[in-house]
């Protein structure tokens, strides 16, 4: 495949309506424990840049707050993402970016599952398998070229 040719030339861009969570008085009360919630996880991944376009996953509606499930006491996080088109070959890369971002940001106690949202990609099972296989993820991250691409995508997600 020609690397300069884009899979999806003209993706639908959505207006960003996410409002930053305001700072409450309780945020400074050390006696109150703030549980990790979907909004916090979404905040971590929404600004990841799409590998193809200079747009964030939030602008492309690839990630969505409603598609993140967090169970803090059981240390589980599930992130479902929606590729822009069903044959998107970047789906695995986007998933990998989300995984790396959460690996570097969430507390280590969490077990994170990344999945393509059901019915939104033609090779859904294949991509899901790839993203949740520890060894394959580790192997992918040893590829310096791939790591560079991921780091570029994550550069905006600070």
């Amino acid at each position: 495949m020609n690397i300069t040719q884009k899979i999806n030339d003209a993706p639908q861009v959505y207006e960003v309506v996410t409002k930053a969570r305001g700072v409450q008085e309780a945020d400074f009360d050390d006696d109150v424990r703030d549980l990790v919630d979907p909004e916090e996880v979404y905040e971590l991944i929404r600004n990841i840049t799409d590998p193809e376009h200079p747009l964030t996953l939030e602008q492309l509606h690839v990630t969505n707050k409603e598609h993140i499930y967090v169970d803090d006491p059981s240390n589980r996080v599930l992130v479902e993402f929606t590729p822009t088109i069903p044959h998107c070959s970047m789906a695995a890369l986007i998933g990998l970016c989300i995984r790396v971002r959460l690996l570097r940001s969430l507390p280590e106690r969490f077990k994170v599952d990344i999945k393509v949202r059901e019915g939104t990609h033609q090779s859904e099972t294949h991509v899901n398998k790839q993203l949740n296989d520890k060894e394959r993820v580790a192997a992918a991250l040893e590829n310096t070229y791939l790591l560079d691409v991921i780091n570029q995508c994550l550069a905006t997600a600070v």
Binding site: V23, D27, F28, D29, D30, R33, D34, V36, E40, E43, L44, R104, S105, L106, P107, E108, R109, N151, L154, V158
Partner: protein, 1014 residues
Amino acid sequence: MVVQRLVDAYIIGLGDNSDNSELLEKLIECITSGDASLLELVQALGSYLASEEASRRSKGVHVLSEVLKGLPEAAIPTQAISRLVQFFCARLSDATCVPYVLTAINALVRLPAFSNQYSIDVLNALFKEVHVQSFQYSTRSTAYQLLELVMQNHPESAKQMGDDFVLGFAQMLDGEKDPRSLSVAFQLVPKIAALVDIKNNAEDIFDVIFCYFPITFKNRDGDPSAISAESLKAALRSAITCSPYFGEMAVKPLVSKTTATATSAKIDAFETLAAGTCTFSPDVYRKELESLVEQIREDVFMSSEESVVDAALETLEAVYSIIKPESTSSVPGSPMDTSDQIAVANDSSSPLDYVLKEAVFQLTADEIKNSEQIGRILRAAARSSPYNCSVISDAVIPIVIERLDSTEVLTVRRELMDVLNHVLSASCDVDRKAECLEADKINLLNIYRPDSSVPLDKEYSFLHITRLKGITLLVLMPDFLSGDEMAVALQTLARASIERNEDENVNKEATHLLIQLSQSKPEQIQTVVLPMFFSALREKIIAVQRVSHLLNALGAIGVSASKILIPVLNGLVEIVTSGELAPPHCLATVSTIRKMIEAIIVAKDGASICHELISSVVSPLSDWVYQIAKKSTGEHALSLLVLEIARTTVSTFSSLGSEEQQQYLEAMFARYQPVATAVQTEGVESGSSLVQLLPLFSSAICSCWPQTKLPVDDLAGFIGNLSAVAVATSSQIQRDVCFEIIASVVNKTSDSKQRSALTQTALDRADQAAEPCSLAHVLLRNWLARALVKCSDKRGYEMVSWLLEQITSASPHAAAAAEGFSIILGDHDWSVTTQTHGVIKVLSKQRFYATVVPQLTSQFQVGNDAVKTNLLVVLTNTVRHMPKSVLMNGVENVVPLLLSAIRLTEGGLKAASIRTIAMVIIESPDTVQNELVSSIVPLLIASLDQNGTKNSVEVRRTACDALALIPEKYIYPVVQSTRKDVLRALTTARDDRKRLVRQDATKAYNKWLSLGDS
């Protein structure tokens, strides 16, 4: 002989490149004083001037030109000018002499005796003999200067030369490359065009200047004499557009340049075309109109840069503003009203067709694409003139109305309304209602009438917003809506702003539109909109969020138009004082009143309405709170209300003159007699409601000018009483109020002896009233130190020394004394501040820092742990209020203390110390590089620990922020040894119990992780 000697010496000096200014001065002095004549100088130069050797000749001319330049007018005899002009004209053919000859001629042109004929001779010789472009920049610059001087001093000669002058200038400029010369030359072109008829040579001169378009130029950084790219561009633009003769040649190439790919060139071409409309004939634009409109449409539709779109639309407006329909322009001078023009224009093709055809095509298509862009183009074309506005409105509005009637698809309706809004806004811009609007009035009102079938949810909010914009335009349209219709329209807007919508953008937009309308229709807003807001506020059950929304909207409307401000404030005050507002909302309302007043006072003529504000806002609110305090029902958060009203008092009162302040103070003391007495009376119960009103007095007294006389018979006695009451009272409010007043009065006493006496009185009375060294004594000295240090009184430092002594001697109030340093330097709402006319000397903070910090450093070495902790508290309180510039001077001495402060203190003080260290890392990373790995990073890591009480949320967050700075400021080898530890600590911090800390830790972690990658 003397002259000869000087000339010889001068010329030898020229050969050696030595400084000849002294010799030149002597020569000038010699001729000015009459010791020698100009003739003698020429004779002395004879051998040089007539020499066959070029370098000798040029030296001769050099001397002569320098002397002529330096000589006063009277020293050059009139009869000599003729000879000199002849001589210099002849010398212009001598290339080596030209630079000096031009300097000399420039000196002569300034003389009153220099006639027009001489100018003509000189210019003829210049144009004929000198190929200007073969000379250096300085000579070329002198040549342009000569032309400018001639045009300025002898315009007649330029006129007389006519074509020769124009042609000569064109030849002179041809091939110029230096941007500095170009800038001067471009500025000459409009002057020449104004002075001389350039008709015959317009093409020559145009070719010479237009070849530079579009001009780009990058100036060197740090060159103060450099010209800017913008000024060069503007000079070229004014040159190209200075004469109608250029129109024929300019418009076509400019239109083709609008297709340039470079944004700056494109914008430049558009702007030049727009500028040309002032001088060029409309006909030249008419010929290119089709392609120009086509290009503008393409740019508006396709360009991603707003600046290009704006330039394109402005050009469209400018061009249409000069182009009239052919049928009307063919009968110049015949008066025709707009309707006649339209009738005539309808029969033939109109220039607006280029815009209209495409727009009509799009508007009638099944799917409307680019409605926003179509609307913008129509608006730009329509606002060019009332006539064009009528034509466009007539063509577009019926189509849109018909289409809106027939379609129910909400997205299409919204797009159509968008276009309609743009066309209507053009009518508002040209301030003239289009003819067709009257006929379609009912239809228009129906279109914008709120449609109950459209749900008020987020999905349709754009439709609602578009409708609201349309209603605003109808209100703004001149002579369109009747009084009742306007009231209904405003009610619709007000309802949209007041009522809760699914999407708060609708509320925001409605409020924004009301703010816009309040500037042009203040009376209607006052009579229709404000009562609706006030009654919404009076509702019995009303949520906090809604109150805050209503108050914000009212505040913004009030501040935007001066005519509405007082009605809004009066309405709010009435609601608060009437008791109709629920007590929890009173505070929010009073707070809004304060913010509005603060915003209006900083505006330039805000001070003029202070009188009115005091009588209509401050006094009623004070009366109201006084009555509440007397009743002491406990419903209201009295102390917070008083604080807000006191702040409002400060804003208004400090803007009054001293006499007015005095009158107001007297009235205040009389009106609130019990409170005035309570200020100075011991034994007032600390829980008494009257005590809570005391800040009102304190704020008024502290806001006075130094020259305002307080309504007390004996100032020293008053201060003494306050001091005695302060140390004896059990009420914290009363104590603080007394200290605030004492500090303010002492600070504003200009006479140092009197100031010292007042200080002493305060101290003595305090000592008499209670046993020395109570907590109040310590606080009194803190406040006195604030008053005195700010006006750089040396007694202030006596107070500081006393306080430090308390700390080092481990007195029971050492901790309070240390904490009190925040009083000395910190902010306060009204006591000793710039706003309340406190005397604050410029370098007072610097002096404090230079005096106190060395004492702290030395005492830190010898003190025990408790003393050290308190000294660190003092240090942190000092450092956190210091400007960065003061702090960075000698910061290396403070860093070890700050590190100890991080180690020993906790909470806010620890966070402040970490922030200071972070500031040092940002501003001067080298200063702390040695301590970084060994001390700073371990301390920051320790500050991330969430167990125990030492590290509050604030501490942990500042530690994360400080850690995040390190990878940005230091190179990898400096910090690599500690990287692992930091990452480990931040990994733990990523699982902090507080979300804010987790977020900051994640940021820092990712920065450290990528350290060394690049």
